[in-house]
């Protein structure tokens, strides 16, 4: 089998059609397990009481918002250097889901900040850079659609995605580099400062979001392929 077998839109269309439902099923199972562990099994927090349970959405969504941007930028780089159609389409397919998770991270953060910090929103480095990420996603989506020729839109958007990558380390390390109201990371490469069942719930939710993101990206790329290749013979034959 050719290495680039799945890099052709028509074969990838079929592969994505098989994989996407499985991703959604896995996401639903992991999500249900994560919600059970997070909302039923995990104990009340010593400092914050019940409201800390927002963490089970907030942190996984924030992780996904950054990770999806990174993957999107990688696909963008791939489409710019190798001029591959499918990579550009994958980058486009990831953007709305990334924007959605960024919004969720900001929204849940606001409704977590009000009862704990005493404010829905503050302009500290962590919150501001995450808001910048949301506007980078919006800019990517808008720029991609601003050209008559979708391939030109691909290139412009990919360039923006690559420039925006500098924002990712700023978001992640903002709580270390500057004085912020936002607390530091509970989970890092060095270890964790969370009780084990709380951590389990959060990781289950993170994997659920992960699987959901792959599912939506595959489902969306199928639609993009249909739109762009609608004049080809294989689409006509569907």
């Amino acid at each position: 089998m050719n290495f680039f077998y799945f890099a052709s839109p028509s074969t990838f269309y079929r592969l994505a059609g098989i994989l996407a439902p499985w991703c959604f099923a896995v996401a639903a199972i992991l999500g249900a397990a994560g919600l059970y562990v997070g909302l039923v099994q995990a104990p009340t927090d010593a400092q914050q009481g019940e409201v800390y349970r927002v963490i089970f959405i907030h942190v996984p969504a924030a992780w996904m918002s950054m990770f999806l941007y990174f993957v999107m930028a990688c696909y963008g780089a791939m489409s710019l250097t190798f001029n591959t159609r499918l990579a550009a389409m994958m980058a486009r397919a990831l953007a709305p889901t990334g924007a959605m998770f960024t919004f969720v991270a900001l929204w849940t953060g606001a409704f977590w900040g009000r009862p704990t910090w005493g404010a829905y929103w503050v302009w500290d480095a962590r919150l501001t850079s995450e808001l910048v990420l949301l506007f980078l996603y919006f800019g990517f989506i808008a720029l991609g659609n601003a050209f008559e020729d979708p391939r030109r839109g691909d290139r412009a958007a990919a360039l923006l995605a690559l420039i925006g990558v500098v924002n990712l380390p700023i978001i992640y390390f903002s709580v270390l580099w500057w004085n912020t109201l936002h607390q530091g990371s509970s989970v890092s490469f060095k270890g964790t400062s969370m009780h084990v069942s709380m951590l389990t719930g959060m990781l289950l939710m993170a994997f659920a979001f992960w699987s959901y993101s792959i599912g939506t990206a595959l489902a969306r790329v199928r639609t993009i392929i249909l739109e762009r290749e609608r004049r080809t013979r294989w689409v006509r034959a569907l």
Binding site: F111, L226, R230
Partner: protein
Amino acid sequence: MNHDFYIWMSYGMTALVIAAEIAWLRLHRAQALRRIEEERDLEAQD
């Protein structure tokens, strides 16, 4: 301290946007398929 409101607002909005995204995905796909169908019909008439 009762924080039910904040928890519900967080989980509720998350459920809402996920539902909205899935609905939007289905709508988008239906539109693309309809367009292919229309073009195929037009060609059949020629």
